[in-house]
Amino acid sequence: MSTARQREPAYRVDAERLELGGGLEVLLAAALERVAPGGVLEIRTPSRAVALELPGWALLAGHELIGETAEGGAHLLQIRRGAFARTLAGPLPERGEPPPLRGGELHTADWRGGELPPDPDCGAGFAPLHAVPESGAPRHHWRLSRRDAVWADDVGELVDQASAQQWDASRDVPWEAARELDDTTEKAVAQVMTFLAQNEYAALYVPARFLGQINPQLVELVLWLGSHVYDEARHIEVFTKRSLIGGQHGYALASTELSLHTLLDEHDFTASSLLLNVLGEGTFLDLLRFIELHAPDQATATAARLAHRDERRHVHFGISNIRRATLLDPELTSSLVAAAEARAAKLVSLSGLSPRLVEALTIMAAASLQPAELAEAAGDVRTLMATMERNRLRRLRACGFSAATAKHLSDLHTPNLM
């Protein structure tokens, strides 16, 4: 080690009273960022102890002490920056234009500031949006990585809506209101709630399974599926709680389980969008609206209303996703129809909705076993079925399917609600 000054430093820093272990490392690292590899940084310190310790720090940090002099009671040390890259990546981009605000709000739809690449890099791992990934990290294999296989144009807006519309199943439902029903009505409510909760498990497991397969570079979709999964978790919670609060029990029917089992058999993302989001959750929209309107108590009505608000987003995503996918690849329609046919083929033993469910819906709506009230409620349930059919066709047309294809798909779905 020479004790003479070796060359003119590229950058100087005055450590003042800073010590190693007390922030000096941070100052040195920031200063060295301004020095090219091989360039010289000069450090001034009044502390003899710091001057004695700095060479050891430089050695471990990959730099080299090349000179040391005293000047007016202070120590001047020259350190040559190591020639290696500290992080195995190119330089960080220049400070760029930040995303725009809307009335002070930073929306997910606005944060990317450009088009999502069609085939984002799998090697970027969990690098957040616009971060620079370091090379040498272990490589993931994401099954769902191509944008056009999974995307929806308004997914950013949907993510923001999902965050804005969160609610609390413990506090936002007037649970006291559910305690006063007679045994018969409460038993019917318990059966309907059991059916709903059972279905919501499948609505959670399907997006949850896809979530772990998505390339994180499709971050809006990751956030979206995360919100979908959380919504369904809360739906399971709220309908289970509504069943429990009345003290009655319902059957988790095997026919329902069979229908849901076939939903989990589908491994294609877009086909799942059709079967779950558009057909299943779409049909649930009408069912939840019916329950809200005909609920015998405010707790049930509130639970149905809150869940309905979430399901609307899920249906919107499904329609948007399928419309985009079939526009890009018109031949996709036939494989989507085939997926619906394959599911229906596994459900030949189902001839329609379970009588137990139809009876429970009717009694719940009548809130009694009086013939006149039952007759009116039975009429309402028949109207519900017709509404479901009509709205299902409307949603399928919104996906871009022809009238004939929409009718075929709707008929295939009829035995199921979800």
């Binding site: 080690m1 003899r48 050695l59």
Partner: protein, 271 residues
Amino acid sequence: MSGGELTLGAVSYHPRVVTIWERFRTYFADAGVPTDYLLFSNYERLVGAVLDGTVDIGWNTNTAYVVLNHRAGGNTRILGMRDVDRDWATVLVMRKGEPIKSPAELDGRVLALGSRDSGHAAILPLHYLAAEGLDAEERCQLLRFDTDLGKHGDTGDSELHVVRAVAGGEADAGALSAAYFSAFRGEGVPEVADLEVVWRSPTYYHCNFTVLDSLERELSERWSRALLAMDFDDASLRPAMELEGVRRWYSGDRDGYASLTAAMQEQAMLA
């Protein structure tokens, strides 16, 4: 499975040694100089293995190198060393606010040292302090931490004891390598915050790859070239190189071993 053209011996001072040499073994095979490795529990066995031909190359501490070179009658060659090995130094640390201007002021006080076979934490401190006018063996009360003997200070354990002894007041000053002191500081070892460096030795060399002169020169030069070609900016090599504490390999020479050789002679360690 065949061992390859060359066999290298290293000491397993930490489980990471396996990770390092498994990666380097692949590297040397790809570089056209297949090199297998054998691990030893201590440097005395490694030195013996180089001398009896069990291994061709010893990845030696400075202490092990000096012994090997002595026992081989000076007939050794150095094939390479790490960047950090060229600028090793020993520091004396004391509790903050109790600094001394010169090591001679430690006369009559308690000095903590690391393992007695550690060049940087025991052997060289005594040598350099003598040069500063302090015969520490005579004039100081030595508090030695002889942990991990045979590893020549590679584990850092005895130096951690030194730091704690000084911070805790059992010793007035302690000797350890500048690199380990900085590493302890970087790792946030709490006792380090209470200490400051009061003296720093001249620099000397630390580890190197040593072979006997009898090893075919063309082969050892090919191995050296492959070693020096290791690139820290290669993402597949960086993790192993970081574990080994090297960013760049140098060919190395004997210049920086003179002080340790003298110290070991003074301390009758080269019988």
